[in-house]
Amino acid sequence: MKRPDHEKKARGKLDRRKFLKAGITGAAVGLGAGLGWQLWPRKQEAQTFIAKAADYRTDFGKLISAGLKELGVGPEQVRHKRVLLKPNLVEPHARAACINTHPQVVRGAAEAFLRMGAKQVLVAEGSGHRRDSLLILEKSGLAEVLAEDHIPFVNLNDHAGWRLGNRGGWSALAFFHLPAILRDVDLIVSMAKMKTHHWAGVTLSMKNLFGVLPGMIYGWPKNVLHQAGIQESILDINASLQPHLAIMDGVVGMEGDGPIMGTPKSAKVLVMGTSLPAVDSVSARIMGVDPDKIPYLNTAARVLDPRVTNGVRQLGENIEDVQTTFKLLERIPAQRNIRLA
């Protein structure tokens, strides 16, 4: 290789076997103290808001507004701000309802932020496999919703302009090339889909941020991140970008061979929070997955937001009331031995 133009010494790989042997002990570095999701008023404990949503006819604008209020996110933090919603847009075909963040959830989030006085809401994604972003937008139904609501879309695969240092250091990547729009907005909201994943175990709001990295620099698939380590890259992106909020579409998620080839799983739930490690930890538990057994979630809870290790305060519904066991596949190593006891 000629020039590893964006590599540095890594902290060391999060090898799953080694990780499981080591258990969950390990010193928290306390990186979380400077993270973006703590833009919000600092609370002693991490919080998430869980809401039941029977189907996609739910009034998500109302539901998300209520959740934001419960979480302490009010007009004073949103007024005059530019808000970037990052849904999970992967595939446009027949299984799209359980693959992509549903357009009605995106619409609801846009409504909620605009109602609180946001200067602008935009939707942005850089799909991992398909270069034709417009096709995914069209077929997923999101194009129609965005056009009706006059919400602009940014294809993150096709933009760059911001070189951001890697504040995590789990992978060997020294920095990230990101679209400048991510620097220019005030709030970044990860709007993920609740799914199992064949490489990472589960894909939730933190993994969703793979989609902010432009394919034109990281490839289709974003193989640079695979080479650098998927779990390590998830941590590094989150530690560096410091997203502000997560809204998880678990109304219909995916179980089994996710994130694309699995089967729909109706969990009928929306999970929100200003701490992405907390939202992912809670979402995993809702799925019947032990977050401590997923290396990147475990590390995120200890290092990115150490409050999570002390427990997450539930607002809205209790985990037990919405918990539904997502099917895991024994033939997929990342899904073995991750079931919640």
Partner: protein, 296 residues
Amino acid sequence: MGFSNLSWNKAFEDLVQRFCPDGGCAAHRGEMIPRPDATAWACLALKEKENHAVIQRAQDFLITRQDEDGRVYLFEDTPTVWWPSSLAILAWNGSDAHEQARQKTCWFLLRNSGRHSPKRPDAPTAHDTSLRGWSWVEGTHSWVEPTSLATLALNLCGFSQHVRVSEALRMLMDRQLPEGGWNYGNTAVYGTVLDPLPQSTAVALVALAGKENRQDLARSIKYLSEQVPDLHTPLSLAWAILALHAWQHRPRQADRWLLDCLEGQKRLGSYDTESLSLLCLAASGSLEWLYGDQGS
């Protein structure tokens, strides 16, 4: 072929207006940051209009993005992002003034490949990981689209018999899905066969045209033929028309679909330079830019 149509003339004017003072073309309307991929695509489209002055400056610009070893990189600070190399070769084709640069990039491609490893029976993926093609980025695996584009570029420059091109064709055939079509380049993961994607299928079929038996690709051609009436976005539609044209299956309604898609900008906003250029190329009905004189 409807280049007399006002909409197509406007599309070409739009492309010309995207060129920056340094000769490079921006990836989006209204931007002033030139990119080699956008420059190469616009250059190829404008060849149809014989806009020599713009083309020559574009070809010169591409040399400014060429490294000493021959690669053409995306940005100054991303030298490992080498996928624009194949596009630059296509754009330089036919220009005596750029022959040296073109040869240098061809040899760069022939010396380099994606990252490969011996095929393991217990691997999570089903494809043959030992077959070399080309990657989007240095140090990563070979995938369908960059391999297809590099194969096209090398064929055009007289390397069709080279061992690397033969291996790349084998790689593409190995990545063809059992029921036809291609996706970005994984056939199956942990035993689950993945779905094809129209654009990836089209790019692979263009690269394989005239190289592989129609019979071995019949299912892929059928898949794309069935998909194309339902494609309304420029990148997928343009590549699909080009692929079906290359396999003598250009749909009768192709010109209408392409024009409708071009006019879709009123609804979707202005297309990026690559998409707009590909629409123009698909509408031109000429494949010379892909196959040289054989494509006329």
